[in-house]
Symmetry: D2
């Protein structure tokens, strides 16, 4: 992963973690449940963007080199991993 992507992703993860700390305070201060749910949905959406950045990076690096490589087993394992990530992401 190049440095720019790494820094971008770590900043987003740090921001999401900080956001969750703020939501914790909302719960402790008895904020309105729907407001809390909406804040959590915003964190979920932010994490979804990080997953897409990671997938894009993965496609351009590991997947491309495995598929262009000469090991059919490695290629097959890579493709099955992509399908399982797609399946999992839909069940969230």
């Amino acid at each position: 992963m190049d440095d720019v992507t790494r820094r971008n992703i770590t900043q987003r993860l740090a921001s999401a973690a900080g956001h969750l700390k703020g939501i914790e305070r909302m719960v402790q201060e008895d904020a309105y449940c729907i407001d809390i749910i909406r804040q959590i949905q915003a964190v979920q959406a932010a994490l979804q963007k990080v997953n897409i950045m990671l997938l894009d990076n993965h496609l351009h690096t590991c997947v491309t080199s495995a598929i262009r490589g000469d090991d059919p087993d490695e290629r097959e394992a890579m493709l099955q991993e992509l399908t399982s990530v797609f399946t999992m992401s839909n069940s969230l």
Copy 2:
């Protein structure tokens, strides 16, 4: 919100925030992208459980008192809020 639910929810949020800190380190240490995606999906699933706990609490408190109350506008606003949370949660 009763104390038991509040403590349960705040613990889950704190755990999710801590989990994200760990994922940040995975990114900095160039962990395999698919492993990172799976960890983020675990956090998203944990946050989904928190949302369901919040919804359940909201249904049993604010929604019930508003619907049993005498203000039709308050009742209508409450129902529209539920539909919008349902809509938003599906677009994540």
Copy 3:
């Protein structure tokens, strides 16, 4: 359910069923997989709208009368049903 809502929902369901027939032909004619996936995603989105219309109708009818009613067990069953529909919809 009032007649207008019923007609609206049945038309959307009929349209989704017709859309699936068209997608079947795409598969038989060896259309590009990504194009087929996108068409299926359009049907899924259309079905999601129908679910939201049904939920909205349910909130304004059965849920409201059960919560305003005098049977706490019926009320509790209704609230648990809403939480389970919310949970299920998120796992799709």
Copy 4:
């Protein structure tokens, strides 16, 4: 797409279309809204499986040949398509 996969996918699509016809009747016969929502969720889940089969087929055919091919633009277009399908599927 090989014949076995094609027949499997077309049968699933035909079954989903038939299921929607049945759900239409439920609406016309004023079935309970939550029961209708659950039936629609079953169709959505079935369509999700078809999408995963299509993605798997696509990965093993078009994506593999494009990535192993010599046209970097075609390769890049293929990777972006995968990311966009992943993004779209999460917003359903």
